[in-house]
Assembly symmetry: C2
Homo-oligomer: 714 residues x 2
C-alpha cells in the first residue's frame, strides 16, 4: 500500500483539464462542470486554444502556459491528441493523469498500438494514469467528481470500482434516489496502467469506504486480485458482479474495455477463494453493497419479520430461509409483549403481522424495538412502513369526507417523529432493512433511505439483503489463510517429464503420471508395470487378488471405453485372458499396469487446469465415468492453503458423501485437502505440465487414493 498511485491521483490539489470548454453539448465540458460545481477546493486549470475563460475559470492556451505543475491532468480529446498532451504534461512534471479518451485497445489492433505508445510516454515521464476509455473518479471526501453527471453531494460509504464508466456516472441520479452514496468511485477503463486490483487495494485501505462494490468484465492479474482481496475481505466486505462468463458477455466486454474473461464456474470458485460475495445484477451490486456498507454487521442468523400484511411477510420468511437465515418462532414472553400492541387476530409468532393498521410508528419503531430488546433476533426486516405516500394516494378518494381539509392539512396531522424508526439499528447494533411499495413519495421510505436503512421494492429483496450480511459474517469468520512454502522440486518428476518430452509425448502414461503424483506424496494405487503376460501374472500374484489390469501407453485416454481396463480379476487365468484382450484391443502388446482392486465406493475427481489470468487452478468434483454428466465441480487458483482447499469440500453439491455416508466412514478430509494443496504446488513447480486429471480418486475406507491419472504436457 506504500505507494498505491490512487492515493495521489484521488487527492489532487490541482487539476488541469483538456477538452472542457463552454459548449454544454461537449462531454469534456460536463466533466469540467462536475469539478467546478460540486465543492472541490483545489485549483482548476482548463486548457483551451481560444477561450480565455472556461466555466468561469481562467483558461490557458497550452500546457506550457500553466502557472504551476498540476497534480492531475485530465484528457478528453481525440486519441492522437491525447498522446501528444500526455507527453507535454510529462515534460511539465505532472505525475498523474486520467485519460478519458476512447479509441484505444478496445477498437482493435491499431488502437492497441496507440495504447502501447500511451504507456511508453507515461513510463518515460513516470506518469501513473487511469484509462484510457474511462469516465474518471469520484472522491466524495474532498467533494471531487470528475465524471459527466452531477454527484449526490454526500459523503458516502460505498467504494466502487468499475470496468464500465456507466456505473460510476450514468447511475448517479439513480443512486441518489435510492439513498446510495459513494465514498470513492473509480472507472478503470482499459487499465493500461492503474488497474482494477490497484483500485481494490486502495479502497481496502480507505477509511471512509466501509464496503467495496466491483463491476467486472474480466481480470488481468488474477492471482494478485485474489491475494489483495483476501487481505481486505476479513475486515471489509467486497461484493462483485461478473458479466464475462458467456460468449456474448465476453465478446461485448472485449469490444468494451478489452478485458480478459473466463467461464462462470471458474470465477465462482475464484470469488469464493477471494472472500468476495457474488451478485448477478447491477441493482444487487449497488443495493446489497450499500446494505453491507451502511448497516451494522450481522452477529447471528435469527431474523425478525414485522409487517402489516400477510403476503409480504410470508414472502420474506420464505426468502430468508432460502438465504440460510432462520425465522424462529418468538418465545411466549416476547409474543405476549407484542400482543399488547396488536389486534386480536394479528399474528405475533414471527412474522409479526399487524394486518391493516394505520399506526406506522407501531410497525416501524415500537414492535421492532421490543424485538431488539428481547435478544431473540439478530436482524429485523420491516415491510409496509408508510404514511404520506399512502395518504396522498387516498386523498382524492376521501377529500369529500374531510370537509375543508387540504392535502397539506391532511398530511400535517401525521406524526413525523422518525427518531426511533431510524436510530434503532445503531442503538442496538442490529441490522435493519425495509421493504415498501412506496418510493420517496412516502416519508417513511425517504427517511429510511436518507438514514442508511435500505428500502427494497420487493419484500424478497429485503430478505436477500440480510442474507448478504450473513454471507459476509461467514467470510469474516473464515479460517486464516496460511500458505506454506512450496516444496522442493522432485528430481524424479523432472526426469520423467524430460524423458517424455524427449520422446515427444503429449501426455504421460498412467504409470508415469502416478509416479509424478507419488513423488509429491499424493497416495496412488500400488501399480506394477508389466511388459509381458508372464510379468502381468507375477505382478498380480504379488499384489494379491482381486486385481485390475489396464493397458498403459502414452496418448491413451478413455481407457474404459476402449476396452483397455479389466476389473476384478481373481485368478492367474483371468489375468492372462485380460492381458490378451488388451493386446488385441491395442493391436499388439503394450505395457500393462496391474494393481490391487480397491473395493467399490465413493469416487472423486481431482484435477488441475491452467487458466489465463489465474494460472494453475485446482479442481475438485464428483468422479467416475459419470463425472461429465454430473458436472459437479469447483475450482481454486494455486497455491492453496489448507483452509482454502477445505472450503472446496463444501462447494460440491454432493458434499454429503464426503462425510459419514450410508455406513461408510467419513472421508479423511485432511488427506483430501493435502491432495488438493499438493496438486497446486506441483503445477507451480512444473510449468511444463499443462493439465492433470485424476479420475477417479477412490475413497478406500476413509482414505483418498489416486486410481487413474493423466498428465498432459504443455
Amino acid at each position: 500500500m506504500l505507494d498505491n498511485p490512487l492515493l495521489h491521483l484521488m487527492n489532487p490539489k490541482s487539476i488541469a483539464i483538456v477538452g472542457a470548454g463552454n459548449n454544454p453539448a461537449k462531454m469534456g465540458t460536463l466533466h469540467g462542470l462536475s469539478i467546478v460545481k460540486e465543492g472541490y477546493q483545489g485549483k482548476f486549470y482548463p486548457i483551451h486554444p481560444r477561450d480565455e475563460m472556461v466555466l468561469g475559470h481562467r483558461a490557458y492556451p497550452t500546457v506550457a502556459d500553466l502557472p504551476e505543475v498540476p497534480d492531475l491532468a485530465m484528457l478528453i480529446v481525440p486519441a492522437e491528441q491525447a498522446l501528444k498532451l500526455l507527453a507535454e504534461f510529462g515534460q511539465l512534471g505532472t505525475k498523474y493523469a486520467i485519460v478519458v479518451t476512447a479509441g484505444f485497445r478496445e477498437t482493435g489492433e491499431e488502437g492497441r498500438l496507440k495504447e502501447e505508445r500511451l504507456k511508453e510516454i507515461a513510463a518515460a515521464y513516470g506518469i501513473r494514469f487511469l484509462g484510457p476509455n474511462c469516465i474518471g473518479i469520484i472522491n466524495s471526501e474532498i467533494l471531487l467528481n470528475v465524471t459527466i453527471m452531477p454527484g449526490s453531494g454526500k459523503q458516502g460509504k460505498l467504494g466502487m470500482v468499475s470496468q464500465s464508466g456507466t456505473y460510476v456516472t450514468q447511475t448517479l441520479p439513480y443512486l441518489k434516489q435510492k439513498g446510495i452514496h459513494f465514498s470513492k468511485a473509480i472507472s478503470v477503463g482499459n487499465e493500461a496502467d492503474i488497474n482494477l486490483v490497484d483500485a481494490l487495494e486502495y479502497l481496502g485501505q480507505d477509511e471512509q469506504t466501509k464496503a467495496i462494490a466491483l463491476y467486472l468484465e474480466g481480470v488481468k492479474d488474477g492471482r494478485r486480485f485474489i491475494e489483495v482481496a483476501q487481505k481486505i475481505t476479513p475486515r471489509k466486505p467486497v461484493i462483485l458482479q461478473y458479466v464475462g462468463g458467456s460468449a456474448a458477455g465476453a465478446r461485448a466486454g472485449m469490444s468494451h474495455t478489452g478485458s480478459m474473461a473466463g467461464p462462470d464456474f471458474l470465477y465462482e470458485g475464484i470469488l469464493k477463494q477471494a472472500g468476495i460475495i457474488q451478485v448477478h445484477t447491477v441493482e444487487e451490486l449497488y443495493s446489497y453493497g450499500w446494505t453491507l456498507a451502511a448497516q451494522p454487521p450481522l452477529r447471528g442468523k435469527r431474523m425478525a419479520v414485522v409487517t402489516n400484511s400477510g403476503g409480504p411477510g410470508t414472502a420474506i420468511a420464505n426468502a430468508c430461509e432460502q438465504g440460510k437465515l432462520d425465522v424462529p418462532t418468538f418465545s411466549p414472553q416476547l409474543q405476549q409483549q407484542i400482543r399488547g400492541h396488536i389486534l386480536p387476530h394479528a399474528s405475533s409468532a414471527n412474522p409479526v403481522d399487524l394486518t391493516y393498521h394505520l399506526d406506522a410508528k407501531m410497525l416501524t419503531a415500537v414492535i421492532p424495538e421490543i424485538i431488539m430488546q428481547s435478544g431473540e433476533a439478530d436482524g429485523v426486516i420491516v415491510h409496509g412502513g408508510m404514511s404520506h405516500g399512502f395518504m396522498k394516494v387516498i386523498y382524492p378518494h376521501v377529500r369529500e369526507l374531510l370537509g375543508d381539509v387540504t392535502l397539506e392539512q391532511f398530511l400535517g396531522q401525521l406524526d413525523t417523529d422518525f427518531g426511533k424508526t431510524v436510530s434503532l439499528p445503531w442503538e442496538y447494533q442490529i441490522p435493519l432493512v425495509a421493504s415498501s411499495f412506496f418510493g420517496r413519495e412516502d416519508d417513511y421510505t425517504a427517511v429510511y433511505l436518507d438514514h442508511g436503512i435500505p428500502v427494497f421494492d420487493s419484500p424478497e429483496k429485503a430478505a436477500r439483503a440480510m442474507a448478504m450480511l450473513l454471507r459476509y459474517k461467514e467470510i469474516r469468520e473464515r479460517k486464516q489463510i496460511n500458505r506454506g512454502e512450496l516444496p522442493a522440486v522432485s528430481l524424479q518428476a523432472q526426469e520423467i517429464i524430460a524423458a517424455a518430452t524427449a520422446r515427444q509425448q503429449k501426455t504421460l502414461t498412467e504409470y508415469e503420471s502416478k509416479q509424478i503424483l507419488a513423488a509429491y506424496g499424493i497416495p496412488v494405487t500400488g501399480d506394477r508395470l508389466a511388459m509381458s503376460e508372464e510379468a502381468a501374472v507375477a505382478a498380480a500374484l504379488a499384489a494379491g487378488f482381486p486385481v485390475v489390469l489396464k493397458g498403459c501407453a502414452a496418448d491413451v485416454a478413455h481407457k474404459t471405453e476402449k476396452g483397455l481396463v479389466h476389473l476384478g480379476l481373481t485368478s492367474a487365468e483371468e489375468v492372462r485372458r485380460a492381458y490378451r484382450a488388451v493386446s488385441q484391443e491395442a493391436g499388439g502388446e503394450i505395457p500393462v499396469l496391474v494393481a490391487e482392486m480397491l473395493p467399490k465406493g465413493r469416487e472423486l475427481l481431482v484435477g488441475m487446469t491452467r487458466y489465463p489470468a489465474f494460472g494453475p487452478c485446482v479442481m475438485l468434483g464428483l468422479g467416475g465415468v459419470f463425472a461429465e454428466a454430473w458436472r459437479d465441480i469447483t475450482f481454486r487458483s494455486a497455491p492453496l492453503s489448507d483452509a482454502e482447499a477445505e472450503e472446496m469440500l463444501q462447494d460440491i453439491r454432493a458434499k454429503a458423501m464426503i462425510g459419514e455416508f450410508r455406513g461408510m466412514p467419513a472421508v479423511d478430509r485432511a488427506a483430501l485437502v493435502k491432495i488438493l494443496v499438493t496438486l497446486g504446488q506441483l503445477a507451480l513447480l512444473h510449468p511444463e505440465i499443462a493439465e492433470i486429471d485424476i479420475n477417479p480418486v477412490m475413497i478406500n475406507g476413509s482414505l483418498p487414493v489416486a486410481v487413474d491419472a493423466l498428465v498432459v504436457l504443455a
Copy 2:
C-alpha cells in the same frame, strides 16, 4: 367454464356493502370509495345503521330495507356479524358475496368453526362467495375496483389471482408507476368457497386477460390446479410466485390464509407439469407477467442488444445467454447499415454500443428499426433511452452556459416525437423491452411504460424478461398432453397387498414389490425366491452366473448396509457362502432372492410418494447408493401422459447420461417413460400403497430394469 361463479361475481349490476360509512379512517369506507369513485356504472347500496347518506349515496338501515336484490354483497364487518348478514342477504336472494372480514380459519380452531358456519349458510342459500379474509376484486373492464386503494383507471391486460390481498391493492400505486395495469384481479383469501383454481379458470377464459399472474402460498386441489392450468397455458401465459416452500414460509402462510404448502422441489415439478413459469420475487411476478401480457410473443431466440454504454450492453448479453437466448453477431451487411449511423469507435457487432450519444431517437428508433427490418433478430433490448431525465439532472450544471434559457426552454428543444420508438414491436411483431436508470422523470421511460414496453432499472432484468418470453415459447410448443385410460386393476397385485395387509406388514418384501411392478408391465430382474441353501444354488444355476443373492424379508430396508446383498457370485460355492452370510446377518434363515447380475452401468431412481393436495406423485432421479447425496430428482403428479413423463427426463441435472454416453447406448426413452406413467397409474389403482421406491432402475444396454424395489403400505 359453463358456470364459473366469477363470471357473475366479477360483473355485478348492483353492489350492497356493509361496513362502509363516512369515516375515512375505516377500511370499509375505503372499499366503498373505490367503488363509487372510479367509474363503476352499477348500483351502489350502502347499508348503515344510522347514516342516511353514505359516500353520497342513499344508505339503508338493514338488508331487508334494500330496494332490490343486489347482485353482490360485500361484508367488511366483524366475523359474527358477517355470519348473520350473509344469511340476511341469502334470505333476500343475493347469490354472490365477498367476505372481506378476517378472523376465520387463519386464526385457529375457533375461527375454523366460524368458517364452517359461513360455508353452511352460503350453501343453504346457494350463495357463492370470495373470502373470508380477502381484499376483494378489480374488474377494469367495467371500471370496478372494490379494494381499499385507488386503481389506475386503465383497462389492463394482466390478470392477477392472489392469496394475499396486499398484491391486489397495496401495490396498486406501485403498479401504476410501472405502467402495469390489471385486466382483472382477484384476492381469494381463505378460499372457503370460490378458490384460486376457479379464479385461474375464469381468467383463462377472459378475453381481456392476455397473461395471468398468481401469488401462491399453497394450493388445495392440486390436481385440478394442474389440469386447469394445462388447458390455459398452451394459449395464454401463466406466471407464478410460490412462497410456501420453507418452514417459515409455510407457517406464515398458514397463519395468513391457512393454505396448504409443500416443499419447493415438489412445486417446481408441478409447475413445469402445469406449463406455468415460476418466478421468485413479486417484482418479477408483476414485471415479467406484464411483459408476457403486453408484448408480442417471441418467435425465436436471437436477441439484438442496443445500448449507449458498454457495461449495460455486456451485462445484457451475459444475462441473455444465461437465459438460453442467443446474442448472435450481426451479418456484415447489417453491421454496415448500422455503421452508417454510429461513431467510428462504436460497436456494431451486437451488442450495438453507440457509446456516449445525445441522439436518443437513434438509439430507440432508428437502429432498432434497421435491426427489426433485417430479420436477424427475434427480440430487441434497448438500454439507455433518455432525454428529459438526463437534461433535468444536467441543467443545474450547465445553466450558466446557456444564457437566459430556462429549464422549460432547455427541455423544449428536445424532439418529443416518440411515434416510432413505441410502435416498433407491434409494427414488426417483434418484442421490445428496455432498461434505463431513469424512472418516469425521463420522458423515454414514461412513454415506453405508458405504451406497454417494460422498462427495467437494471439491464439484466430486461434480458431476463426476454428469457421469460422464451420460456413461454417453449411452453406454447409443448407436446400435446394425452392421458390414456387407467389400465384394469391387477388381481395378482390386489392379492399380494391383501395378504401383506392381513399379515400386518408395513412394507412388502422386495419379491412382492417387484411382482406388483411386473403385474403392470414394469420390467424387473428375473428373480427367483429361494427358501434354502440348496434352492439358492439351484436358482443360481438356472439364472446363470454371475448372480446376485439378497436377503428378502418384510421390513428390511437398506439391505446393502446390513450385509444382506451379495453381488457378482460366480460359482455354487460362492452362492452357498453368501447364503450362510445372509442367514448369519439376519440371525437365522430368511428367504433369499437370486437373480442374474446386470453389468455395472447407469442407475436411476424412480419412485412414488403421495403429497397432500397433489395425490400420488412420480419421482425420477439419479439412483444408486449415492442417490441421497445427489438429490437430483424431479416430481410430477399422476396420472401422467407420455409427454409429461418425457419432460421429466429433461429435468435432472445429469440428464446427459440418459442419452448416448461414453460408449453406452442412449437409454430407451419410451421404456423409461412407460415406467413413469405406469407407476403413477399403479398408485391411482391402489390407494393402499403409500410409497414406492425403485432404486436402482439399472440401464441394461439401453433398457431400464427395476433391480430393487420397496412398496410401503398406507
